[in-house]
Amino acid sequence: MNMKNFDLENNDKITTGFKTPENYFEQFEAKMMQQIAAEQPVEKEVKVVSLFYKKQVWMSSIAALLLLAIAIPVYFNMASESNLDATTIESYLAQQSVGTTELTKHLTDEDVIALETSLGVSTSESDEIEAYLSETENLDYILNE
C-alpha cells in the first residue's frame, strides 16, 4: 500500500489485527452462565438475613415493652415514697451517726446567733474565752484535749 496517497475512506479496509484464543466465545458464554447461576442463591440468603432482622426487631420491641412494664410501677412507687414525713427523717437521723461538722456546715449566721442566745452565750463572752485561750501557754494541750 502506498502510504503517500493514503486514503482511509477509499482504500481497502484495514482491520484491527486483534485475535482471540480458540473457542474463546464458547468458553466465555459458559463462564458467564456459571457466574449468573452463582449469583442467584446469594439473593435467597439476603432474604434469610432480612427475616432474621425482622425477628430481631420483634425481640427488641418485646424487651422494650417488658422494661416499661417493670419500670412504670417502680417509678410510681418511688415517687410516693419520696413524700417523707418528719418522723421518718428523725428516725433516719437517729439511726445514722451524723457528725457535728456535717450539721454546722448548714447553719447560717442567723442560726448561730439564735443558738447563742438560746444557750445564753453572748458574743462578748466568747471573745473573752478566745482571748484567754490564745494567751494560755498550753494552747496545744488544750486544743488537743
Binding site: M3, E9, T15, G17, Y24, F25, F28, K31, M33
Partner: protein, 180 residues
C-alpha cells in the same frame, strides 16, 4: 430485535432468565468484545472488562427502563467499564492515561493475539495520537462499523457532532500516516 420489551421481561423473570441471558450473550458478546478490545488493546484485559460488563448488565436489568435500546445501553456500560478499567490502571501505576495506552501499544508487536502487519500497527499508533473521544468515535465507526444513529445513542452526542468528530479524526490519521 423484534420485540425488545418482551425479551427484557424474559431476562428479568426467574423462570426464563437463564435461557434469555444465554441468548443475550450469544447476540452481544462478540461486538462488545471488539468494542472493549479496541479500547484496552490486549485480550486478557478485554476479557476482564467484558465479564464485568455482563455482570453489571445482569445486575441492572431490572432497572433497565427501555428509554434507549438494550443494545446501546449495553454498549454504554461496556464503554464505562473499559474507561474505568484504564483509569484504575493509570492510577495504580501513577502514570497518565496516554502513557498507559502507549505502553499497551508497545506491547502489541509481541502480543500473540495480535497478528497485524506494519500498516495495522501504524494505524493503531496514529489513532493513539488523537484525543480520547475522537479515538472512540473513530474506532466505533471505522472498525466496529456502527451507524451514526447508534453511536449517538451510546455516546449521547448528536449525529452532527459525531460526523464532524469522525472526519477530523480521519484527516489527522491520514496526515500521520503520510508523514510517518
Amino acid at each position: 430485535m423484534q420485540d425488545e420489551k418482551a425479551f427484557v421481561l424474559e431476562l428479568i423473570h426467574p423462570k426464563t432468565q437463564n435461557e434469555a441471558f444465554r441468548k443475550l450473550l450469544q447476540l452481544y458478546q462478540k461486538p462488545l468484545y471488539n468494542h472493549v478490545r479496541g479500547m484496552v488493546m490486549n485480550h486478557d484485559d478485554a476479557d476482564d472488562v467484558l465479564q464485568n460488563t455482563f455482570i453489571k448488565v445482569f445486575a441492572n436489568l431490572k432497572n433497565f427502563k427501555g428509554d434507549s435500546k438494550l443494545f446501546s445501553w449495553m454498549y454504554r456500560i461496556a464503554t464505562n467499564e473499559a474507561i474505568t478499567f484504564m483509569q484504575q490502571r493509570s492510577k495504580k501505576q501513577g502514570i497518565s492515561n496516554e502513557e498507559v495506552q502507549q505502553k499497551e501499544l508497545n506491547k502489541l508487536e509481541s502480543d500473540v493475539f495480535f497478528d497485524g502487519n506494519e500498516i495495522q500497527l501504524k494505524l493503531q499508533k496514529a489513532i493513539a495520537t488523537l484525543p480520547e473521544k475522537q479515538q472512540l468515535v473513530f474506532k466505533m465507526k471505522y472498525f466496529e462499523e456502527l451507524k451514526y444513529e447508534e453511536m449517538s445513542e451510546i455516546l449521547t452526542t448528536s449525529v452532527g457532532a459525531l460526523k464532524a468528530s469522525y472526519h477530523i479524526a480521519v484527516k489527522k490519521i491520514e496526515e500521520y500516516l503520510h508523514t510517518n
